[in-house]
């Protein structure tokens, strides 16, 4: 076989593949997305101005952001199982709103007391990842200057960004980056860096109490934050759900995964990963034709509730984007946030919970949202961020 043969083979392999969408479809989707962005921006500005905040809107915020929960913009109501984004999002102000601000000081010069979030911007023009930023609880954005975690590449060369949801510890004091052959632990309160050698390809990180669970496709370790001691752990790095920070060290680890008709919730021993229970995930509470097809992104526990992003069947399309909240004791789906179809694939990864029971989720294109499953309320946190975010907690 020569190059010409290979070209011929590739050509005949696809000769019956033809576009199913008209050329204008992408433009129309973009038009709807732009319209939504404009409406969101206009409403946010109007809220700011009408609230007497004209000067505040034009002046950079001074001092630390308020350490309080976001006030709801609508009265709570009994929420149905399937919820949707409001036509117009409000942005009531949030400590995380500074996430998109440029870094003004290196971390080494001004370590944090507690980080609220990490952000790695993505340059759309050059298709490159920028330097990692650290947003402290004082509202100051630092540049992570003490180490530059590299993107990970598996054996086949598939690349993943170094910063992913889950790398920031729940207490906001440490960041853990999976690297091939090692785990990087950054103490954000002192800017000290430790590199813990570990065998094999590592890509994903989950904080479980004072341990870092780090792994890839074929191996997972649990690493003690204080001592750096590592031991193998029998869990799936992809399906492991980030435990509730309030749960103890011995609390069972939870995995959710599978595909439509076979979605499973599994609990495992925190000590060695031995399977304790396994049960089907049920979505009978959802009205027809809603179903959960498959989960993606990291799942997050908050008490006995579990939130994870998913592709769903909606009343519009099979393959819509959504976020699912389920009962981690029974595997029963309680709520679905239907995010529709005019979004990027895997647009809307869950990034955690806040202490008031709201799910924080990414929106792409877009920014960051809070969703209260019990009330159906959805508020905006940040607009138009391009890049990867990891939140504390």
């Amino acid at each position: 076989m020569n190059e010409q043969d290979l070209r011929h083979l590739l050509t005949i392999t696809v000769e019956d593949v033809r576009p199913a969408h008209p050329a204008v479809a992408g433009w129309e989707r973009a038009r709807r997305t732009r319209r939504t962005r404009r409406a969101v921006g206009a409403v946010a500005l109007a809220v700011t101005l009408l609230g007497g905040g004209a000067v505040a809107a034009l002046r950079p915020p001074a001092g630390p952001p308020p350490d309080r929960a976001v006030a709801p913009t609508v009265e709570p109501s009994h929420a149905p199982p399937v919820q949707r984004l409001p036509a117009e999002l409000g942005y009531p102000g949030d400590p995380l709103a500074r996430l998109g601000d440029p870094a003004t000081v290196p971390l080494s010069a001004r370590p944090v007391r507690r980080a609220l979030a990490l952000f790695q911007p993505f340059d759309e023009d050059h298709r490159t990842d920028g330097p990692v930023r650290v947003l402290g609880d004082d509202g100051v954005v630092r540049a992570l200057d003490v180490v530059t975690p590299a993107p990970t590449r598996d054996r086949a060369g598939n690349e993943a960004t170094a910063l992913k949801p889950g790398v920031l510890s729940p207490d906001g004091r440490s960041a853990a980056f999976a690297q091939t052959g090692s785990l990087l632990l950054v103490d954000l309160t002192t800017a000290a860096v430790r590199r813990i050698p570990l065998d094999g390809y590592l890509e994903l990180v989950v904080w479980a109490g004072d341990r870092v669970v780090v792994g890839g496709d074929d191996r997972v370790y649990a690493v003690d934050r204080a001592s750096g001691a590592a031991s193998p752990l029998d869990v799936s790095a992809w399906d492991l759900v980030a435990p509730d920070p309030a749960a103890g060290r011995e609390a069972a680890l939870v995995e959710v995964g599978g595909e439509r008709g076979g979605l499973l919730l599994r609990t495992r021993s925190a000590r060695d990963g031995a399977v304790r229970t396994e049960q089907r995930i049920t979505d009978t509470v959802l009205p027809t034709p809603y179903q959960v097809n498959e989960f993606y992104g990291r799942g997050w526990l908050h008490g006995e509730r579990l939130a994870r992003s998913a592709w769903i069947v909606s009343d519009v399309i099979d393959g819509a984007e959504g976020v699912v909240v389920l009962d981690a004791r029974t595997g029963a789906v309680a709520h679905v946030l239907d995010l529709g179809r005019d979004r990027w694939k895997s647009c809307c990864e869950v990034l955690g919970w806040d202490d008031r029971g709201a799910v924080l989720l990414r929106l792409q294109p877009g920014g960051l949202l809070r969703w209260h499953p019990d009330t159906g309320e959805v508020t905006g946190v940040v607009r138009n961020l391009t890049g990867t975010i990891a939140l504390a907690g």
């Binding site: 020569n2 696809v14 050329a23 204008v24 086949a156 060369g157 498959e294 005019d342 694939k345 895997s346």
Partner: protein
């Protein structure tokens, strides 16, 4: 009085997509191994292109959308999903010679990692140079070379008979060719 133009880029965008989408979809299919996934991938890439059209239209929109398409194809969660989908059986049966080759090639490609498949498609379906392939994938030329080499070696392993299918039936034993010989 001249005609007032209110074109916001729609016309040029649609014209661009009409020209390129067929080939892009086929490339996406070769990388994904699944038609629905390829449609998803292309629609996402075209949405991103449309959102950036005012800035990109006067540069090289084909390179821009190609970079999105291929990098998304090998991206994180999508990769996980594709791996499961590509394990599903082929979408249609084929009875003719080309159909059989198509299925064999589809199955053989399905046994390559996504990044290697993307390199093969960019090099031998899109006919890009190594440098342009590297740029589309955001990797070095050295990575393209090594991935291409590994992909071809893997193809030889998983489909040793594939080469024979692309040529007329041999008339003498000397015409039989074992394995592939491709100059990356």
């Amino acid at each position: 009085m001249g005609t007032v133009t209110t074109d916001d880029g729609r016309t040029s965008y649609v014209a661009f997509v009409e020209v390129h989408q067929h080939r892009l979809l086929r490339a996406a299919y070769l990388v994904c191994g699944n038609r629905h996934q390829a449609e998803d991938l292309l629609q996402d890439a075209l949405l991103k292109l449309a959102l950036r059209w005012p800035e990109v239209r006067h540069r090289d929109p084909a390179a821009y959308v190609r970079a999105i398409l291929y990098r998304d194809a090998v991206s994180w969660w999508r990769r996980r999903r594709r791996e499961r989908l590509s394990a599903q059986p082929p979408e249609q049966a084929a009875h003719d010679r080309d159909g059989a080759l198509r299925l064999t090639m589809h199955d053989a490609l399905g046994q390559l990692p996504t990044r290697q498949r993307a390199v093969l498609v960019l090099r031998y379906y899109e006919d890009l140079t190594e440098a342009a392939t590297a740029e589309a994938l955001g990797v070095t030329v050295g990575t393209v070379k090594s991935q291409c080499h590994a992909a071809l070696r893997r193809l030889r392993e998983v489909a040793p008979d594939l080469a024979r299918g692309t040529r007329p039936a041999p008339t003498t034993p000397d015409d039989l060719i074992a394995g592939m010989e491709v100059n990356p």
